[in-house]
């Protein structure tokens, strides 16, 4: 992000930020990204962010957990070393006893699979250096950024819209290497 030339609109109100996004996109100007200290309702929709496919990933991980639960228990209790304890079944008839462990492993795999996918997709890892544009963007300031290089000479329009929708400050961010 820091390696791009950006025009930054600084907002203090989420409603005004959304207003800015809507007006920019009406003019055919794509918003590069917004940075907010809290989730802003509907901002993703207005920015045209496609719905994440993390849910599909979660389903696949969950199915994997479900299968591994069954494989684990069938493998150990039925195929490898059947144990008769208290006369309880050690064949496929013990399926009802397998419900709790299978269920827990489904949940475990779903949660961690999705967590890992989330961190991977968001490029988050312990010790990653944050690239923040404004020290208050995690506190009380909302930023709207537009890529300056992708504008076809309509920079003036962008500045106009940002100003009119209530940006308290408009800055240029010059590419850093």
């Amino acid at each position: 992000m820091l390696r791009k030339n950006l025009i930054i609109g600084v907002y203090k109100e989420p409603d005004k930020l959304i207003d800015g996004v809507i007006k920019l996109r009406k003019q055919g100007i794509e918003v590069f990204d917004c940075f907010t200290p809290f989730p802003v309702h509907n901002l993703d929709r207005e920015m045209g962010i496609k719905r994440t496919r993390l849910t599909v990933g979660a389903f696949i991980c969950g199915s994997l957990g479900f299968l591994s639960g069954l494989v684990l228990q069938f493998g150990m209790m039925v195929f490898d070393w059947p144990m008769n304890i208290g006369g309880k079944p050690d064949s496929y008839l013990m399926l009802p006893s397998m419900v709790p462990v299978t269920f827990e492993l489904t949940i475990l795999f779903t949660a961690f699979g999705m967590g890992i996918l989330f961190f991977y997709k968001s490029r988050m890892l312990h010790g990653v250096r944050e690239d923040i544009l404004d020290i208050r963007q995690t506190d009380d300031t909302l930023l709207l950024t537009v890529e300056a290089d992708k504008l076809n000479g309509n920079k003036q329009d962008v500045l106009e819209i940002l100003k009119n929708t209530g940006a308290i400050d408009i800055r240029d961010h010059i590419r850093q290497h």
Binding site: R51, L105, E130
Partner: protein, 449 residues
Amino acid sequence: MFEAPIRQPLILGDKKFADVSNEICSPIENKPTKAWWFGFTLSFVCLMALVITLFWTVWTGIGTWGINKSVMWGWDITNFVFWIGIGHAGTLISAILLLFRQKWRLSINRSAEAMTIFAVMCAAIFPLFHMGRVWVGPYWALPLPNAFGSLWVNFNSPLLWDVFAISTYFSVSLLFWYLGLIPDIATIRDRAKTKARKFWYGIFAMGWNGSARTWHRYEVVSLILAGISTPLVLSVHTIVSMDFATSVIPGWHTTIFPPYFVAGAIFSGFGMVLTLLVIARSTMKLENYITIGHLEAMTKIVMLTGSMVGLAYITEFFIAWYSGVEYEQYAFLNRATGPYWWAYATMMFCNLVAPQVFWFKWCRTTPWFIFFMSIIVNIGMWFERFVIIVTSLHRDYLPSSWVMYGPTWVEVGMFVGTMGLFFTFFFLFSKFLPVINMAEVKVILKSKE
């Protein structure tokens, strides 16, 4: 969206976004108060009781406990179920109330989830040390290949289900909690004035910058995690109840146990949340975030779940009579009128009768009284587990093996010690992490309840 004019705002004091950050971060950025040091020291001393009693247990053996034949589960499993139950409120608040879109959860979910994690840690200690040789615990409890060839763990046993349930519960709760903490840790990182703080919070913030794309994924992940945590939390206490219900002991062998344990867990969990938050809101000056409205909502849940538990007690009694099984009938009669009648009476009073005061508005809105009641609930729910475990075990089918059970100093020390562990962690949490979810509270600043 239409909002009725009579509704109170969720967060009082007409806060700006920056006010939230300043106020919630102030305990982290300033030196701890005297009250904090006092509480922390007291908890730490109690924690040492845990260290000593566990050392003594391992050094000498389980014979240092008062458990005997036939009361093979005593204070240890009572405490285990007690702590697991306390954990449940955290997940209920953050997951189930999220699915129901209850916005009042947002200023209490962080501390309730922290409570969940610490409570599960306390709980795990008891069954682990009850195994005796704790150093070979993983070898018994986990499906590992072992020295006897491929002799595996017994998947027909509810105790093994418990191992899976509790470890899944702990790790998923930890993930959920940490995920919620990341944006707030990033806030502290960007406010940090010392190098150490910038470094440590920087590591745990994982490079968070509040991008709208990340927030989009983040909200989806939170929702799915809430969706799977809801059946998880119900399953955990269901499985804990199966430790009892799948046995053939009169007093344990009842199908009502799973729903009754889950209701009890939520009841006791909210009791502990109230105990902690009533103190935290006044000592940490959070009255504008954790308002009387929040306390009132929680007391209503306490009353509801308390009544559900009470209904279960009565149903159990009725079914014991209706079953026509004389052992079952005797077990329940003995529970209420036998030598442990005082424990049964305490349980009935604290869990069924006492919470009915919350029908009155004054009781629901007076913090010191709510605190008092929350202690009653904690005591009552501890006694519930004691009653279920000890009264069912102390009189066997064979009258010649009837015994009484009382704890030794080691068992008492362990319980006090886990209290110490719980509160030590809670004090550390309140010093180093934001006790209120800043990012989410900023969203609802202008919302009504």
